[in-house]
Every structure is written in structure tokens, then in C-alpha cells.
């Protein structure tokens, strides 16, 4: 390239509605593919994929893509994300399992004591005791989650800046 290419926005790029003199027969719109039924292989996709929520942890699993030419920062970010997501998933799976088991026990104990119909107020007793029992665990989880989230954010920012610089270099280098 012997000249700098300036990005231009052409009117033809905008899909403006057009008026015709005669009625046009439009070919059937090609239906663009919109999703995958199964988690893809990380190396074969060009962007991250997110899946339906996991029934135990209610969190959505990610498939983090990568290339052969991923930089050290993006590799670090990808591995950190995978680790944090795994940690989150295990915490919430265990936590939710504990919640449902304790709820079952509570209802069973009440049924054995003779009260078949458990009102909302009585369930409140269970909800409160569950929250109080898990108070320290929740506090520790909160702190860890905030710190990990912030680390991921700063690393993602650095990767983003790196990508922008590379793109700018590529454009001026040609």
C-alpha cells in the first residue's frame, strides 16, 4: 500500500429501505445461524460462547476461545476467567445444594411434628436461620468475589488496550 487508507462510511453500507417502481419479489432471506446446541471446542470458535444456566449453580458456563497467536496477557486473562468461573460454580452448587437439603429437612420436621400446612411466616424462620448460619461464609465469598472480579476487570482492560494498539499498528504499518 502506498497511501494511507481512510475509513469511510458509504451510503451503500447502510441498509436503507428502498422504493421501487414495480413490486419486487424478494428471495427468501437466508436464515443466519443463531446458536449452538452443544458447547463448542475453544480452538474452533472465534469468540467466547456462553451457555444455558447450570441447574445446580444457576450460573452460565463460558467457553473461552483462543488462537495459536494469543498474547501472554490474553492467555492470563483466559485462564483467570476459567478459574474464577469454576470457583464460582463450585461455591454456588454446594451452597444451593445445602439450601435445598436444609429446606427439605425443615419441612419434614414440621410435618412430623404434625403441622402439615406450613405458612409463609413459618418458612421465614427457616430463611432467617439459613441466612444467619451462612453469614460468615457469605461475607468471605463477597470479599473474594469483589477482588477477583476487579482483577479480571483490570486484566481485561489491559488486553483491550493491547488489542487496540495492535490494530492501530497494523493499520499504519501497511
Amino acid at each position: 500500500m502506498y497511501f494511507k487508507y481512510q475509513t469511510r462510511i458509504l451510503l451503500t453500507q447502510l441498509k436503507l429501505p428502498r422504493c421501487y417502481a414495480t413490486k419486487q419479489t424478494t428471495p427468501p432471506k437466508e436464515r443466519r445461524p443463531v446458536g449452538l446446541a452443544h458447547p463448542p471446542d475453544p480452538k474452533t470458535v472465534s469468540c467466547d460462547y456462553i451457555g444455558p444456566p447450570d441447574p445446580h449453580s444457576n450460573l452460565r458456563p463460558y467457553v473461552r476461545h483462543y488462537d495459536d497467536n494469543e498474547t501472554t496477557f490474553s492467555k492470563k486473562l483466559r485462564l483467570m476467567r476459567i478459574e474464577v468461573e469454576a470457583w464460582n460454580a463450585s461455591f454456588w452448587s454446594r451452597h444451593n445444594k445445602r439450601f435445598y437439603e436444609e429446606k427439605e429437612d425443615f419441612i419434614r420436621l414440621h410435618k412430623e411434628a404434625g403441622n402439615d400446612d406450613i405458612s409463609a411466616d413459618r418458612m421465614s424462620v427457616f430463611y432467617k436461620t439459613f441466612l444467619d448460619k451462612n453469614r460468615r461464609i457469605h461475607l468471605m465469598y463477597n470479599l473474594s468475589w469483589y477482588m477477583k472480579n476487579f482483577d479480571m476487570l483490570t486484566l481485561a482492560f489491559m488486553v483491550h488496550v493491547q488489542n487496540l494498539l495492535e490494530r492501530a499498528k497494523k493499520r499504519t504499518g501497511d
Binding site: 436464515r31 445461524p33 446458536g35 449452538l36 446446541a37 469468540c47 456462553i50 444455558p52 452460565r60 481485561a156
Partner: protein
């Protein structure tokens, strides 16, 4: 993890073999016009429903669904993580900023501005409302960034953008940073320093105190009510330049309103809140929850009666708001006596009507609408030239080297 994947695959396979779409019976006629590839009665989602689905980039290894299968959506299939559909950016920003909540906040700010005993300046009014809206949008985006795993646990919030991966956390935080800085600059340079300080304080209170406190103690409800009471103070300060007793009436009404509103909302979500680890009155102390809802609804009655005494409104206001506030207090009393999903829902729904109606009544019964005359009389009386800084809203004339004519305010 593998077991979960296999289970999900089995589910999807059975879905492929015998596609059942509950919504298809309603949309069969519409869908045939958009795509003529359908042969069977089982339909594909029409174009109006496709707007919630993102298109992946072309290099991806994708499976094109067969014609007799429902198109995948965010709950049953794997979709690209940041949704790069350019047609959805506006709706994404609206969801990030919780647009409806932000507009309610902006309405209370406009009410505060309109109620202040000072002249109306269109430019500072516009800057004040826009600035407050931007700060509120930033606060909501930061809140969503912090609460991703908790939002996924609750059915009310599990379709948020960051939870479904349509927006990356970096984009959400960048949006929040740009929005907050723009909003604060608008308030500082376009309105006055007090409003900017209140805005910055409110942002800090919401993101750094209220959001963590939601999981630490029930005091978070009181802090959240303060967060809700500050926007009318911002509007008042934006117009009048100072805060006085009248401003506190408006802020007090909004502070008190938050309790019946939020307690009624959270009553039906107790199991979700408990499992996600949120400490709300409805979960930890239901009787306190009922009592505060009733107590603060009665406080609204008292505050509205005091508004004419402090020269905020005329005396008709007390008469006009009596039926409105009395009905609100009656619904809170019914919630107090028998708290179930029906009474909580009716209290919550009425609270959404009650606030705009109360704001309208405030505006309709404002004490003085014109302020120029009284200031002119003052300056005529004094024989001494008093150089006093303009107490009311400053404009961009402060910053730009432009001569701005300041009329009597």
C-alpha cells in the same frame, strides 16, 4: 460438569425429535409470512421474537437449525458472549442503565427543581436532569457489574445483560465511568457545585455502601432510602443553590415512600433473597418489615400535612393529598394485618402510582410560581450597592469566556 452437559444434550436431542413450542400455536400464521421454509405446523419464532437473539460471527462452527425446530434462545443454547448485534446497542444501554428506574429518578429530580423557590432556568434545568440521569445510569451499571453471581440466583434478575453474557464487564464499567464523569461534569459546570457534590455522594453511597451492605445487614434498606431521597434534593439545589427546610420535606417524603415500596416488593421474593444471601427485612425480620411499611406510610401523611407550614405548598395541598396518602396507609395497614402475596402486590402497585401522583400534587399546589418581583422590590429598597454572588444556578458563562447577562433572579 460432564454429567450436566450430557443431561443437557439429551434434553436437546429430545427437543429436536419432538419439538414442542408452547408459543407456536399463537404465532403459526405470522411466521409463515416471514419464512416460507416452514412445512409443518411447528413454527419458528417470528421476527419480533428474534430481536432477543444475537447473531454470531461468521467464522464460528455453527449448526444451522432445521426448519421444524424452534430457534435457540439464551436459555437452551450456546450463544456468542458479547452480543455484537449493532442494532441492539441502544436497548443494551437502556438495560444496563435500568432505564425505567432512571427515568423515575429523573422525574423526582425534575419535581425537586420545579418545587424550589427560585426562578426556572431552562439550561440549568436540562443540565440538572440530564446529569442526574447519567449518574443514576452509571450507578445501576456498576451495581449490575458487582452482582453477577447473585443476580443469576434470583428469578427476577436472571435475565440481566451481564448474567446472560450479552455485555462484557469491561463494557459495563466503561459505560458507567463515561456516564458518571459526563454527568458529574454536567452538574458541576452546568448547574452548581452543591448539586455535583450531592450527585457524587449519591453515586458513592449507592455503589460502595448500599451494594455491599445488601449482603451484610438489614440497615441497607435505610441507606437505600437515603439514596432515593437525594435526587429531589439535587433538583432543589440545582434551582435554588441551597437546601432549606422545604427541600427536606420533599426528601423526607421520598425517604418514607421507599419503605412501603420496597418491603412490599421483597415480601414475595423471600426464598430467592434468602438463597442468594441478601439480608432484607422481609427475610430476617418479617414483623419489622410490616411495621416499617405501616409506620413510614403514616409518616408520609404527616409530612404532606407539614408541607404548607414550611411554605413549600399552599394549604389546599394538605387537603388534596389526604385521600391519596390515606389510601396508601390503608393498603399498608392491610399488609401489616395480613401479609400475603395479594396485599403486598397491591401495596407495591399502588406505590408506583402514588409517587407520581404526589409529585403532580406538589407541583400543582406550589406556593409561589414567580420570583422576579420580590427580588426587584428588595434591590429598590436598599440604597447601598451590595455585591452578592448569584445564589441561583450558574451556567456555562462561568467557564467559557462569554459575557453572560445575568438578569435579576
Amino acid at each position: 460438569m460432564m454429567r450436566v452437559l450430557v443431561k443437557r444434550e439429551l434434553g436437546l436431542i429430545t427437543q429436536l425429535l419432538a419439538p414442542v413450542n408452547v408459543q407456536s400455536t399463537r404465532y403459526t400464521t405470522k411466521s409463515t409470512s416471514s419464512c416460507d421454509a416452514t412445512s409443518s405446523g411447528h413454527s419458528i419464532l417470528p421476527a419480533t421474537q428474534l430481536k432477543d437473539i444475537c447473531m454470531p460471527v461468521s467464522k464460528a462452527n455453527v449448526i444451522v437449525p432445521a426448519s421444524n425446530v424452534t430457534l435457540p434462545d439464551y436459555n437452551t443454547s450456546w450463544l456468542p458472549s458479547p452480543c455484537d448485534d449493532t442494532g441492539k446497542t441502544i436497548s443494551q444501554y437502556k438495560k444496563l442503565s435500568k432505564f425505567r428506574l432512571t427515568s423515575l429518578v429523573v422525574i423526582t429530580t425534575m419535581g425537586g427543581y420545579a418545587m424550589a423557590p427560585a426562578a426556572f432556568d431552562p439550561s440549568s434545568f436540562a443540565m440538572c436532569t440530564l446529569g442526574t440521569g447519567l449518574i443514576s445510569a452509571a450507578a445501576n451499571a456498576i451495581n449490575q457489574y458487582h452482582e453477577v453471581p447473585f443476580d443469576s440466583q434470583m428469578s427476577r434478575t436472571k435475565n440481566r445483560l451481564l448474567v446472560t453474557g450479552q455485555v462484557t464487564p469491561l463494557k459495563a464499567v466503561t459505560f458507567a465511568a463515561v456516564s458518571a464523569s459526563t454527568g458529574l461534569c454536567m452538574l458541576y459546570f452546568g448547574v452548581n457545585g452543591l448539586t455535583a457534590a450531592l450527585g457524587a455522594g449519591n453515586l458513592f453511597l449507592y455503589t460502595s455502601i448500599y451494594t455491599p451492605m445488601k449482603r451484610i445487614s438489614i440497615v441497607n434498606t435505610w441507606i437505600g432510602s437515603v439514596v432515593g431521597a437525594i435526587p429531589p434534593l439535587m433538583g432543589w439545589a440545582g434551582c435554588a443553590g441551597t437546601l432549606d427546610a422545604g427541600a427536606m420535606i420533599l426528601a423526607g417524603v421520598l425517604f418514607a415512600w421507599q419503605f412501603p415500596h420496597f418491603n412490599a416488593l421483597s415480601w414475595n421474593l423471600r426464598p430467592d433473597y434468602s438463597r442468594a444471601g441478601y439480608r432484607m427485612m422481609a427475610v430476617t425480620n418479617p414483623s419489622l418489615c410490616r411495621r416499617t411499611a405501616l409506620r413510614y406510610s403514616l409518616a408520609i401523611v404527616g409530612l404532606s400535612a407539614m408541607a404548607p407550614v414550611l411554605d413549600v405548598t399552599n394549604y389546599w395541598f394538605a387537603l388534596e393529598t389526604l385521600p391519596l396518602n390515606a389510601y396508601f396507609a390503608y393498603l399498608a395497614y392491610k399488609f401489616y394485618k395480613k401479609s400475603d402475596s395479594k396485599s403486598s402486590r397491591s401495596l407495591f402497585r399502588f406505590s408506583l402510582l402514588h409517587l407520581p401522583a404526589l409529585m403532580l400534587l406538589f407541583l400543582a399546589n406550589k406556593k409561589n410560581w414567580f420570583f422576579n418581583k420580590s427580588v426587584e422590590e428588595e434591590t429598590k429598597d436598599s440604597n447601598v450597592m451590595v455585591l452578592k454572588p448569584s445564589k441561583t444556578a450558574t451556567s456555562l458563562g462561568n467557564v467559557l469566556p462569554v459575557a453572560v447577562a445575568e438578569g435579576p433572579r
